[in-house]
Symmetry: C2
């Protein structure tokens, strides 16, 4: 029997451990000294992923793990309990800016979102929740999102899409564009209602946590090409409040 509160407890515990370590890394300037060393960051990314998966496997030996750096399982279906792990999301921000990066864990049962957690390492803000629990930031319940038109909200569109006129048209019809360079940080802006739309090409571990937390708050998520969302592959997705998402889809179609 899957115990949702037990999942919550262990996911939040390991993300808090990771946050404390990454904050210490930066304050001791181990990263800053070699700020151009992507190798060093890749090593840190790998070690954090291994730490998260080792910790969780101990409590959930029956689960499968999908992750970026290779310590996960080779998963080709989503039966049972699956954890999606992104140890450091927003690597370029981690290297260059020392802020606006996140660690994320999404937990799915038979392909359906069960629980998600995103920790903004520098801001020390932990977003978490799921359909059976409600959604929270640092213990405070997040309100249902307000469904405003595209013209009344900020949109986030990944850099790579901004060369294309249809995506430019989406941002031009909004209140303004923001680009944060991290899926995790972008999801937190949707969750707290600061932005109403996010378009990006995302891997399963980029979107699993944010979708689990945001769906109960009223977010919708669709692929740009109309295919079903799959947590087994990369997809270009549009995530947002309903009005804004549907307006953007009309602009892009």
């Amino acid at each position: 029997m899957t115990n949702l509160h037990r999942i919550q407890q262990h996911v939040l515990e390991i993300l808090t451990q990771v946050k404390n370590q990454l904050q210490a890394d930066l304050s001791y300037q181990t990263i800053q000294i070699k700020s151009s060393s992507t190798d060093l960051v890749t090593e840190r990314d790998k070690s954090v992923e291994q730490q998260i998966i080792t910790y969780l496997k101990n409590y959930f030996p029956e689960a499968h793990f999908v992750s970026e750096e290779g310590f996960g399982d080779h998963v080709n279906n989503l039966q049972g309990l699956v954890f999606f792990v992104d140890p450091i999301d927003g690597t370029m921000n981690f290297i260059k800016a020392h802020d606006q990066f996140a660690s994320m864990i999404g937990v799915y049962l038979n392909g359906q979102p069960l629980f998600g957690a995103i920790i903004d390492i520098i801001e020390d803000q932990l977003y978490y929740g799921g359909a059976g629990l409600g959604s929270f930031v640092n213990g405070r319940k997040l309100p249902q999102l307000i469904d405003v038109p595209l013209s009344q909200g900020l949109v986030m569109i990944s850099n790579r899409f901004l060369n294309d006129v249809p995506y430019q048209n989406v941002k031009n019809q909004s209140s303004g564009l923001r680009v944060f360079g991290s899926a995790g940080i972008s999801f937190t802006r949707l969750l707290r209602g600061s932005a109403i739309l996010y378009i990006s090409k995302l891997k399963p571990w980029d979107m699993a946590a944010g979708w689990a937390i945001g769906k109960p708050l009223g977010l919708i998520m669709r692929t740009i090409d109309g295919t079903p969302i799959s947590m087994l592959k990369s997809q270009t997705v549009i995530i947002g409040t309903r009005c804004a998402t549907e307006e953007a889809e009309r602009i892009l179609s």
Copy 2:
């Protein structure tokens, strides 16, 4: 005789007062309740500007004031001591996101930067300095900026320019694009070396403070059309470390 330390003392004092009030505004949710009310925000913008100018005029009665909301003077030359005041920079972020907005004061003597201060209200980070003082964040000295090629740093380009291919080429040659929607916040990213380039159309009060703090750290600032920088009008400017700025100029020319 202009006393630089007296200017620093009073500018930092009034910005700290403003920060405390704006933080209280948001925590009491006076803004959140009417988050779509731009009128309310405009009123707040005006009252903060009036507060700053009233405070500073008391200590510097000989100075002139250039500001957004109309409480400044009609200045048509830059002789003597001039304060450039931006009470709330990043208004859309203030309204929609409740973060990433700033208050800024730049102080110029006979048209030359003397002192600048930018306070990131939510992060509680106060950047300040000038040629005669060095540049600081919350009392910690900021290091000289490292002059890396465009390909090795993050760039910030205002939304409005991203529809144009030459500006897309600049971002495409960089490590990545960030869009924060606030000149003040964008300047703080340059000052701490998180980003290496910023292109935007700026009013004098948008750039006066950041330029005064950043010039001693090695930033350069030029207009896109090659005309001299003027603190009397709006201009499209490119600000950054030397290599990146010159590479971007070649791409745009």
